[in-house]
Symmetry: C2
Subunit: 219 residues, 2 copies
């Protein structure tokens, strides 16, 4: 069964540790702050106090046997970078690092860190896209230029069956699911004969420019 | 055209302001730090220096005419809470606040703030889900228990047409798109006769427990 390490138990790191433990994975949680370690010791498989910038301390944790190490330190760039460097030396299987700036990301990528998480940036982009779509309730980018959005159906769609609404023909986007609120139910692979209510939420996939049109059209 | 305000230009707030400006919305960006304001003044419609906890300063910004106000302050809970309180008094149309803890979120919800963003928490949940799925390349929750994932096709799928692979019948999940890497191309609403290569990425939608099975099955 998979084993993970989280180095640094701030808001991000502690939540990664908690979620993975809840999903029944083995987690080693490490922080130099005894209080942070104490808060998690009954939640994770093992919780340890250590200064992870210290290569000796890192080696004694036996990290090369783990499937992935999440570097979730905050504070200075230096500590995160040094820790990643030592982890590369140890030869851990996979390193994921939380970054605090574009420069931080660039440095870690040059160190060969394959995966980088920038929470504030990612949440900001998502919020900006959300605010930009008038009738859109949620926005998930799938790939550059393609996204999945939840939209409220516009007046010319409400009361029609999915087939009659001809959303694909008119807007070039595909309805992949309908989330009904009355009664509360998900319809994956919705029946084309299903009549759309104004309380339904359409989950739609397509090119961003087509999604923008459907949102504007429904304002 | 829509107008937005961002109060607080840290990593999150400044990125919201930049993204919305890039999407050609009007943005008023506010911070008490002149350097932060200066960095954005050529990017946004208008950038102002102000202490946003000061109700007089807030009123003079004329915020009730904007479509939404993003409260992106860091530091103390107090400043964020006071600012939200004043915004409620002014009667702005929509308030979105960045929070720094579950307690912070609870307080703001009691104040009637409808939408709250907790970047570290959201990124942590997403990373934890990602690490948990073996063959899964990305994971996007759509609703409790339903998600969209990108997966590498397992051996019993590669070389078959989408129709013959019978993914829906076997796994109970729907392939909504295929991202080919060779050549690089997206196939939305993929042709059921399309043959799946081992370099393809399947974008799949379904219940979390079914998605877990398809990932495990392909390890
Ligand atoms: N050298 C180190 N060794 C072990 N733990 C460390 C080290 N440096 C920092 N930490 C821990 O990393 C955690 C995250 O750091 P901090 O809270 O400063 O960052 P942050 O960017 O605010 O994190 P988050 O956004 O996740 O809350 C803290 O609990 C801190 O004790
Ligand atoms: N009362 C205030 N009036 C105006 N601006 C403020 C006020 N308090 C804080 N700010 C600004 O809010 C911004 C974000 O604050 P800070 O950087 O402390 O938070 P943060 O949680 O680290 O933010 P982020 O995660 O977005 O980087 C800063 O640029 C700061 O100057």
């Amino acid at each position: 069964s998979k084993q993970f390490v989280v180095l640094g138990l701030g808001k991000f790191g502690s939540e990664v540790a908690r979620q993975m433990s809840a999903d029944e994975f083995e987690v080693l949680a490490v922080d130099r702050d005894p209080d942070k370690v104490d808060e998690l010791k009954d939640v994770v498989t093992r919780a340890a106090i250590a200064d992870v910038t210290d290569p000796e301390a890192l080696r004694s944790l036996g990290l090369d046997s783990f499937d992935a190490v999440v570097v979730a330190l905050g504070g200075s760039l230096e500590e995160s970078i040094l820790t990643c460097l030592h982890l590369k030396d140890i030869g851990v299987k996979q390193i994921i690092a939380k970054v605090m700036s574009p420069q931080h990301e660039r440095i870690l990528r040059k160190l060969g860190i394959g995966r980088v998480i920038y929470p504030e940036y990612e949440s900001a982009v998502r919020l900006a896209k959300h605010l930009g779509f008038q009738a859109v309730l949620d926005f998930l980018p799938l790939a550059p230029g393609f996204s999945l959005v939840e939209i409220a159906p516009s007046e010319d769609i409400v009361g029609k069956s999915l087939r009659d609404a001809e959303i694909r023909q008119k807007y070039g986007v595909q309805v992949v699911a309908i989330r009904s609120l009355v009664p509360e139910q998900w319809h994956l692979v919705p029946d084309p004969n299903m009549v759309i209510k104004d309380s339904d939420v359409l989950v739609v996939i397509g090119k961003d420019e087509d999604l923008k049109k459907i949102a504007k059209g429904s304002s």
